[in-house]
């Protein structure tokens, strides 16, 4: 019982800290919003070259932008844990009977909550730009669910890095170095058919592509290559994404748990 109560109290603490530092939310939302408002306009002509050319580029890119947001938001999670180590707050918590795993769980819970809120903001903005799920409201739920799942797995990487390096700068540095290559070598912003051959190969195995395809299908209602639309939900793609993200999550969260135990003992 104490596990859930402890995790909840620490979740509330993280939420309060977030609400009181809106600048942090602003920074991680800034890039996705610029992409949504400007990048999609810059490349609006691209829509007719992608797949069967049935889509606006904005509708196509929304999935990629949602994922990019999940990336940058998750990476701040590692810096928050570094803050708690450096300030001594973690030690202070550890001198109390609080459930050890709950410290980690409360953190992850708030990360997921945050990614969801930011995703909702982006989806509302996209809606204003004329993008809404081809499969109806259930599409929104699916998008949010996949993003939350992806955010959880990705927070694991960020937390593990934070626990291992104990340096916020390192976490940010690695985040920056990793985000764009993974994003550009994926189907986040163009279809695979648009890429050179080698990149198509990379993209096929890139977890970002797998996640983004699953997020895109409920929005566009098209198949992965955008050659056929109005196909409804493509469960193959969606379930594949859950499998891959789940696998990544088990590894990253396992590593986080292991490193956290080492810090705690």
């Amino acid at each position: 019982m104490s596990f859930f109560a402890d995790a909840f109290h620490l979740f509330v603490r993280s939420m309060k800290k977030l609400v009181r530092n809106p600048i942090l939310v602003f920074f991680s939302l800034f890039q996705p919003i610029i992409f949504l408002l400007l990048f999609t306009q810059l490349f609006s002509g691209l829509g007719r070259f992608l797949g069967a050319g049935l889509l606006s580029y904005t509708a196509f890119a929304t999935a990629g932008i949602v994922l990019q947001n999940a990336f940058s938001s998750a990476f701040q999670s590692g810096t928050a844990v570094v803050d708690d180590i450096k300030s001594g707050f973690l030690s202070k918590m550890l001198a109390t009977p609080v459930n050890r795993s709950a410290i980690l769980f409360g953190r992850l819970l708030s990360d997921v909550f945050r990614v969801v809120v930011q995703t909702v903001i982006i989806l509302i903005l996209a809606y204003a730009l004329g993008v809404f799920p081809a499969v109806g409201a259930i599409g929104y739920l699916l998008v949010i669910f996949i993003v939350a799942f992806f955010g959880l797995a990705w927070s694991g990487i960020s937390l593990a890095l934070g626990l291992k390096t104990k340096s916020a700068e390192t976490v940010f540095g690695i985040a920056g170095a990793v985000t764009f290559p993974l994003l550009f070598m994926s189907t986040a912003l163009v279809t695979a058919g648009f890429m050179p051959g080698w990149m198509q190969t990379v993209s096929t195995f890139n977890p970002v592509s797998i996640a983004v395809n699953a997020i895109r299908n409920p929005i566009t209602g098209c198949n992965v290559n955008q050659t056929m639309c109005n196909i409804g939900l493509d469960w193959n793609t969606i379930l594949q994404a859950f499998g891959v993200i789940g696998g990544i999550g088990i590894v990253t969260l396992g590593a986080t748990l292991y490193l956290f135990r080492k810090v705690v003992s």
């Binding site: 109290h9 707050f89 202070k92």
Partner: protein, 338 residues
């Protein structure tokens, strides 16, 4: 094994081979105000971390309230309050929220937390600022809040690592007065500090550690009596006027050759400190002897033994009180660990 804190042959060797604690033994009685003193790097913080279950010992044994620090760590955490050397409050939360969170981490009931937090806010004089974010608090207020967070669950034992360092004299006095009151209510206090006057006034017993070993322990009165001598502090004029840099060495020779009642001579910042019985009677002779040896004195002072002398005798160092300005330095150049 009868004390509320029992430490026996405790050893801590860090992963890099540093021997921070080299087999110390001591015991603290229930209700005692116990001072744990030592120069920087003596092993004080390491010992506190082991006793508060934050660090694993290498060997030896340690128990708190009869609970083993390893096997019964969760039980210990419920009955101790721990204040870190660096002030630790969440600056994004209000004073009240900090206290409530601490109560929640201590797994107290919501109603109990509410009552206790109201009470504590009044006690540490933060009731008016309770709903302001701690980030806006002054250094003294943060320290008081930090202290209050260690008390939410009515701990039996308080571990305080430098609770007043970096505070202005007024805040310092307030904290000491409050600690005294807590101790009178029966809470055992285990404290490291650099303020020896307060230790002398409040601590019933103390231990001095140096380089990971206990070099002295006992009551302040006993330890001072052990010195059994007045201290005469000699300051020399700058060395160029004294014919070379070896003023201390020459002065030591003079002392050795001409005085037989001296029990000890120790280097000090300004020159030498000489320990001798009935020190005041020696002053004229000392002045004459140094004059003959052409060593110029800038100051000379006699005092009966203080804890400062006890500390100097056992560690060869004077305890240095960090003044308020040093906290700014800390903020600028990052945290220091001790």
């Amino acid at each position: 094994m009868t004390g509320i804190i029992d430490v026996s042959q405790l050893v801590k060797t860090y992963g890099d081979g540093t021997k921070a604690v080299k087999g110390i033994s001591f015991s603290v009685n229930e209700g005692e105000f116990f001072g744990f003193l030592g120069p920087n790097g003596a092993g004080k913080s390491t010992t506190i971390k082991i006793l508060t279950t934050l660090l694993q010992k290498t060997s030896g044994s340690a128990s708190v309230a009869g609970f083993d620090v390893v096997a019964d760590a969760p039980k210990i955490r419920k009955i101790i309050g721990v204040q870190n050397q660096d002030t630790v409050v969440d600056e994004d939360l209000t004073g009240r929220e900090n206290l409530v969170l601490q109560g929640q981490l201590q797994q107290m009931h919501a109603t109990a937390i509410r009552e206790r937090v109201d009470e504590l806010l009044k006690i540490v004089d933060l009731a008016d600022a309770a709903d302001k974010r701690a980030g806006f608090y002054s250094g003294g207020m943060k320290k008081r809040l930090d202290l209050a967070t260690t008390l939410v669950h009515n701990p039996k034992i308080l571990f305080l690592d430098e609770p007043t360092t970096g505070l202005d004299p007024q805040s310092r006095a307030a904290i000491w007065a409050y600690l005294k009151k807590l101790n009178e209510q029966g809470i055992t206090i285990f404290i490291t500090t650099q303020y020896l006057e307060e230790v002398d006034r409040l601590c019933r017993r103390l231990a001095i550690v140096d380089l990971g070993e206990i070099v002295a322990q006992g009551s302040p009165a006993d330890l001072k009596q052990e010195i059994g001598a007045d201290s005469i502090s000699l300051g020399f004029e700058n060395s160029s006027m004294n014919g070379g840099g070896d003023t201390r060495k020459r002065a030591r020779e003079v002392l050795q050759n001409k005085f037989d009642r001296i029990s000890n001579v120790v280097d000090s910042d300004i020159g030498l400190t000489v320990y001798a019985k009935n020190g005041s009677y020696m002053v004229p002779e000392l002045v004459r002897a140094f004059d003959e040896a052409q060593i110029r004195l800038s100051t000379i002072g006699v005092s009966s033994p203080t804890l400062d002398d006890v500390f100097l005798k056992h560690t060869g160092k004077r305890i240095r009180v960090e003044e308020v300005s040093s906290t700014n330095m800390r903020g600028m150049f990052g945290r220091r660990r001790r």
